[in-house]
């Protein structure tokens, strides 16, 4: 391998595009399937991730489908069962409910039903998050899939991990649900995400990020905070303010994979802090935070010095009005308030 080139700063959208292109070059069996992908003069998928790919890979391997989610998922399952590696696209994660049977009853179970004779190496990408579009275009439904044995569930929040994890997902022999947050793609500039810098350092050399490994985004000794997607950045902002304003030092962890969940990284932090807060944009009741809290209450009960707190979207359908949506999703203020309670 030649001398390492300098890394670049990429958005998540650009990083995902690179990951897809590299995997398609590497492996003939990788192909794309979804709605409004690979259309001349089109959007390159709902968030532009596929722009430029048809020019390199042609239209055979970029399968533009009818508006038929059951076919998108079902075709991915069938092709994967024969050893192809589909990267399927759901325009909004809200539409996954249209192919829930194909994902839960087929993709996740076929291997087991076959006695291990087949595997289903598919990736289903789906954008989550509230963007003033209301109840059917603003959900973060990743938690439903955490309940499905036979699936893996990944949530990415920065370009570096997005690229490395998508490449790992494509190479994984199991069905992987790959969730991305609409406001973090970087395609529409930073203001949308509240002024966040949506780019990250991405090496020029090929690399993989393993599925099932969490990362510590900020170290601290007082409270362990586990958060994903946009909520991760809100948690980091809250952590900074809590540090300066109240001397509360939060250790902030991005699990990156929700199934299987890397509890070891969380426990090693929790054993030091004795306090756990979980933050996600998916709704509270039955959300993935419940599973993490339940495991902590079994595996680390005697390390806990304070109740486990979950900060999530309120248990309501997502409203469209900004004034309502802002009240529903976890805000920096709400995160701060709850974490301060942990220290009282």
């Amino acid at each position: 391998m030649s001398s390492p080139e300098p890394s670049r700063r990429l958005t998540i959208g650009e990083a995902l595009r690179e990951a897809i292109a590299e995997e398609m070059r590497r492996d003939e069996s990788v192909f794309l399937i979804g709605e409004d992908i690979g259309i001349e003069g089109g959007f390159g998928g709902a968030f532009g991730v596929y722009l430029g790919l048809p020019e390199e890979f042609g239209h055979d391997r970029i399968v533009n489908t009818p508006i038929s989610e059951k076919v998108i998922a079902g075709a991915a399952v069938g092709a994967a069962a024969l050893g192809m590696r589909p990267i399927a696209d759901m325009q909004y994660a809200d539409f996954l409910f249209e192919c829930m049977d194909e994902l839960v009853n087929q993709a996740a179970k076929l291997r087991y039903m076959s006695g291990g004779k087949i595997s289903v190496p598919l990736v289903m990408r789906a954008p989550v998050g509230a963007t003033n579009r209301g109840a059917q275009h603003g959900q973060s439904p990743e938690s439903y899939f955490v309940h499905v044995p036979g699936l893996k569930v990944v949530c990415v929040s920065d370009a570096y991990h997005a690229k490395g994890l998508l490449k790992s997902a494509v190479r994984d022999d199991n069905p992987v649900l790959f969730f991305e947050h609409k406001l973090l793609y970087g395609s529409k500039g930073r203001e949308q995400a509240g002024g966040l810098d949506l780019t990250a350092e991405v090496p020029s050399e090929e690399y993989l990020v393993p599925i099932g490994k969490a990362v510590v985004k900020r170290s601290g000794s007082d409270v362990t905070v586990v958060a994903t997607h946009l909520a991760l950045y809100r948690a980091l902002a809250a952590a900074e303010e809590l540090g300066t304003e109240h001397g509360i030092e939060c250790e902030v962890i991005d699990p990156l994979t929700l199934l299987p969940l890397d509890v070891e990284t969380v426990w090693s932090s929790l054993r030091r802090t004795g306090r756990l807060a979980i933050v996600h944009e998916d709704t509270l009741t039955g959300g993935w935070g419940a599973e993490l809290a339940a495991r902590a209450a079994e595996e680390c009960l005697f390390d806990l010095e304070a109740p486990i707190k979950r900060i999530a979207s309120l248990d309501v359908p997502m409203p469209s009005a900004p004034s309502l949506e802002d009240a529903v999703v976890p805000s920096v203020e709400r995160i701060k308030t709850v974490i301060r309670q942990l220290r009282d």
């Binding site: 709605e35 508006i67 038929s68 309501v316 004034s323 309502l324």
Partner: protein, 318 residues
């Protein structure tokens, strides 16, 4: 209601013109307000398709119901949602028809016979069978209309809804607005059949292709389909060939379709077409009326309070 003569009376013509114009101006105005940053979220707009919503809703009773889609502004106004309530909803105001909880993609109002629009493509196609079933079980004479796009006809929901409505002869009219594209995808790239109406035969019900750029043609086809449904003879599939003059959603640069194609369809704009029949004088009167209505709606929306954050927790459960 029996089938109509091709040329309705002047009041009817005026009403059709007013309604189409109302929708056109509403859409042009909200597009501007969106760019100005006064309207959040996104917009799926109806310019070019006005003849469909207006022609169909004109032959419906206030007690009849409709289901709509992610592109509901035209359907809502045509069925009787007030411009004020619709505009305020787009603004996210508490005075909106859904109290600011629905937004652009979920406009609706039960008091005028419109469910909150369903923004899941094909979603209305199964739900509408429940409306028809309720009417049938109550032996009422009401009719339900399901508006949907040609793209939705590739969803499983289209199939299940059509089959169930057909076998139970439910009082439903399925109105497919074939505007050639589902987002950026041409229908002929995702269906081997170019006419959605051709799928009606799979359910043993009548399917009819209608010029969706001619409000009178839509109205007449709608009237007979509605009459058929009311008479208990079961559902009809009407395919209205139409075109959206604007992008799929607010951010669409329309690079996937030819300027010539757009120009050709603009030639067939249903509004000038009716204006020619109506005469300049009458038209100008109605245009002034519509401008005033829209201006009032914008004022109302601006003056209305934002949805109260406290309200975020209400209306989840009854």
């Amino acid at each position: 209601m029996a089938a109509l003569a091709a040329q309705p009376d002047p009041e009817t013509l005026a009403g059709l013109y007013r309604q189409m114009l109302l929708i056109r101006r509403f859409e042009e105005t909200v597009y501007y307000l969106f760019l100005e940053g006064e309207i959040p979220g996104t917009l799926h707009q109806y310019q070019g398709q006005e003849a469909v919503a207006v022609g169909i809703c004109d032959v419906l009773e206030p007690t009849d119901w409709i289901t709509s889609t992610h592109r509901p502004h035209g359907h809502a106004l045509a069925k009787g949602v007030t411009p004020r309530a619709a505009m305020a909803e787009l603004f996210g105001k508490s005075t909106g028809c859904c109290a600011g909880k629905g937004g652009s993609m979920h406009l609706g109002d039960p008091s005028v016979g419109m469910l909150p629009a369903i923004a899941i493509v094909g979603g209305g196609n199964t739900v509408v069978t429940g409306l028809g079933l309720a009417f049938a079980l109550r032996r009422s004479e009401q009719v339900a209309v399901c508006f949907f796009g040609e793209g939705a006809s590739n969803e499983g929901a289209f199939h299940e809804g059509m089959n169930f409505a057909a076998v139970r002869r439910l009082p439903i009219v399925f109105v497919c607005e074939n505007n050639l594209y589902g987002a950026s995808t041409r229908f002929d790239a995702v269906s081997a059949l170019v006419d959605v109406a051709g799928r009606a035969a799979a359910y043993g019900i009548p399917g009819r292709v209608v010029d969706g750029m001619d409000v009178l043609a839509v109205r007449e086809a709608g009237a007979s389909a509605v009459a058929r449904a009311r008479a208990g003879e079961g559902p009809t599939l009407l395919e209205c060939k139409t075109y959206r003059f604007v992008g799929h959603s607010r951010s669409d640069a329309r690079g996937y379709r030819a300027a010539e194609e757009e120009a050709a369809w603009r030639e067939r704009d249903p509004i000038p077409r009716l204006r020619a029949i109506l005469g300049v004088e009458t038209a100008e009167g109605l245009e002034a009326e519509v401008e005033a209505t829209i201006a009032d709606a914008v004022e109302f929306a601006r003056a209305s309070p934002d949805a109260d954050p406290q309200e975020a927790l209400t209306d989840v459960l009854a």
